[in-house]
């Protein structure tokens, strides 16, 4: 049949080799040579840089071994503070420093859950049932019924589909960010975010675009810039995820984020929002549901809310909440969830009790809000930073000035703290400040006393310094002015 092409026998085929056209022979010889070359080539890594002998020697000569242990100066602030102040007992509303009871304005015990008798009883009861630790990560054998109950309660409280519990507040947001944002993705983030967020950004390996603190115009200009780039390269834009990360209430400044504007930008430029609510959870909003409730925005608009149980709730750990399909991703990809032991069950029970109390006693929040209004002017935030209005230009000097104020206040039974940062690791250098945080149980006269003491401490430190050395007097004059105006307004 003509449709079936000719089939040769072996004799024909061998004859074919002898009659092969010249270009075919050349091509096959070239292929054989190529294969020979490949077989005799040493394997190598194309990414590795190859150094010459001379370069190697200069590198060896330049190398200085690092000390096995870092050199810690004797006057390191942490060492000094550890020697200076010794705390006994719980850091409740009052804290016992060097045997002296002081009003505590230094820890984030906003709802006075630390040292609360009811919570203590519940935690002790749980201790007798479950023992101290959970002895394993959630995915193995560290899940107890209280963990599941706490997750359900928190999800219900936050009006979200699901919540995921972490055993350490710092690790919550630091694990959540790299679980979603990968290499090549873009994160827009406020310059003043806390250290935990910064660590999450580093771990994500994404492109970071910093916008000025609470400056929505700057953020929008960055988003417009990116949308222009995206138009030029739609293929790349299609595989790039975009996130905005903001804190509900900024630990480092005491400001609240402009959430309505953020949500508007989110929908306009198709970006996802992650909110870090370590400070605002249990603090802002009519029932303590955080910054979404404060602005009356449905949590459905926020892709992920990350909160800590270590501040207002006085327990340990943290949680993320949002839609089920978003949160479930973390059960295998949240590193802090997968690879560390779960929260001790008694602390989970303590958090459940704290949540119950917050729901049962909404007046805690009213008390807290009244307290901040009376202490620190019109802003609603329970965290305030007192900074020098005209800093000396040397952060070390400013810090020492503020430390003197703290010492002075401590003598008069008011525990304050300067805000401490891991300076070389921070994104931006931080201005030295005294960080105040109030508590819902503080009574009117206690607050008046504290304000009084702070005023007097600033005054006396100023006087001391201005008489001793004239060159530091000018920044300290401003301290006094600031103290008068700032304590009232900021």
């Amino acid at each position: 049949m003509a449709v079936i092409p000719a089939t040769w026998d072996m004799y024909d085929l061998i004859q074919g080799v002898l009659q092969a056209p010249w270009y075919h022979v050349v091509f096959e010889v070239a292929l054989v040579l190529l294969i020979m070359k490949i077989y005799y080539s040493q394997s190598f890594s194309p990414e590795k840089t190859v150094l010459t002998e001379k370069e190697k020697e200069t590198l060896i000569e330049e190398w200085v071994p690092e000390p096995l242990a870092p050199d810690v100066p004797d006057d390191h602030p942490i060492l000094k503070v550890m020697e200076k102040y010794c705390i006994e007992g719980q850091n409740g509303k009052y804290v016992k420093v060097n045997g002296k009871s002081c009003i505590n304005l230094a820890t984030f015990n906003f709802l006075s859950m630390v040292g609360n008798k009811e919570i203590e009883d519940v935690a002790l009861k749980a201790l007798k049932v479950y023992g101290v630790g959970s002895c394993g990560p959630r995915g193995f054998y560290g899940t107890m019924d209280v963990h599941i109950q706490l997750e359900e309660d928190l999800a219900k409280f936050m009006n979200c589909e699901e919540a995921i519990l972490y055993s350490y507040g710092f690790a919550t947001i630091a694990s959540a960010i790299p679980a979603y944002s990968k290499r090549g993705d873009i994160i827009y983030v406020d310059e003043n975010v806390s250290f935990a967020v910064q660590k999450g950004l580093t771990a994500s390996r994404s492109h970071i675009r910093w916008f000025r603190h609470n400056d929505m115009e700057h953020l929008e200009s960055l988003l417009i810039e990116q949308s222009k780039l995206d138009k030029k390269n739609p293929k790349k834009a299609k595989v790039t995820r975009r996130f905005i990360i903001a804190e509900g209430l900024y630990l480092n400044s005491g400001h609240i984020c402009p959430l309505p504007k953020l949500v508007e930008l989110k929908w306009k430029y198709k970006v996802r929002i992650f909110l870090e609510e370590t400070m605002s959870f249990g603090v802002l909003g009519a029932t303590g549901r955080g910054v979404t409730e404060h602005f009356e925005i449905s949590p459905d608009h926020i892709d992920l809310i990350s909160c800590s149980l270590e501040t207002a709730f006085g327990s340990t750990g943290g949680f993320c909440c949002g839609k089920k399909f978003i949160i479930d991703h973390q059960r295998l990809s949240g590193l802090g969830y997968c690879f560390s032991a779960s929260q001790p069950p008694m602390l989970a029970s303590a958090a459940i009790q704290a949540l119950k109390m917050l729901q049962a006693k909404p007046h805690l929040l009213v008390d807290l809000r009244e307290n901040r209004v009376k202490v620190l002017g019109d802003s609603i935030s329970p965290i305030k930073h007192l900074a020098l209005a005209e800093p000396a230009g040397d952060p070390g000097l400013d810090l020492r000035t503020l430390e003197m104020v703290v010492d002075m206040a401590m003598n008069e039974s008011v525990a304050l703290t300067v805000s401490r940062y891991l300076e070389p690791e921070e994104h931006l250098p931080k201005d030295p400040s005294i960080r105040l945080s109030v508590n819902c149980e503080l009574a009117q006269d206690e607050i008046n006393k504290a304000v009084d003491v702070i005023q007097r401490s600033f005054q006396s430190v100023l006087e001391k310094l201005s008489t001793r050395s004239p060159d530091v007097s000018s920044p300290l004059d401003s301290v006094q002015e600031m103290k008068k105006s700032e304590v009232a307004s900021r």
């Binding site: 040769w8 292929l31 194309p46 993705d185």
Partner: protein, 153 residues
């Protein structure tokens, strides 16, 4: 494969071509497809060999040089997303045993197809062009190079 456990690489695409018996499996698979084609009544031996060669080269091109990323959830924060399978094999090292083997197979198939098609010029054009599709992207000079930005993202 165990991904993310203590004694594993985060990305199994780096080394699965070095596992036991996989070269033999691959060769048997090619041979099996060839037998199938040979059993089709209206294909001559020449057509069956050229078809084997074309099918093999095109599918290997798609699998090794077009497909990017890995089917595994890796902990490399998405670095494999931008790399083809060929670039991930053996951590991107060039001229390793696996890579030498994978380069030799299409060349040998080309020789066989040429021999059985009696060095016909039409068969030569088809076989040589699909061979080029398989040899050129394997060159170390083209490691992570995307010509004209094709398949970049």
């Amino acid at each position: 494969m165990n991904v993310g456990v203590a004694h594993s690489d985060s990305n199994p695409t780096h080394f699965y071509f070095n596992s036991k018996g996989i070269w033999l499996t691959y060769l048997l698979l090619v041979f099996g497809v060839h037998l199938l084609l040979l059993s089709v009544p209206f294909f001559s031996v020449a057509v069956a060999w050229t078809l084997t060669n074309v099918l093999h080269d095109v599918s290997m091109f798609v699998m090794l040089h077009v497909t990017k990323g890995t089917p595994w959830e890796t902990s490399d924060q998405g670095i494999a997303r931008t790399e083809t399978q060929w670039e991930q094999i053996d951590f991107g090292k060039q001229f390793t045993a696996t890579k030498k083997f994978l380069t030799t197979v299409p060349v040998v198939l080309f020789f066989l197809a040429s021999f059985y098609s009696r060095y016909d010029k039409y068969h030569f054009v088809i076989n040589a062009s699909v061979l080029a599709l398989n040899l050129i992207p394997k060159l170390p000079q083209l490691h992570k190079v995307r010509l004209f930005g094709i398949n970049k993202y």
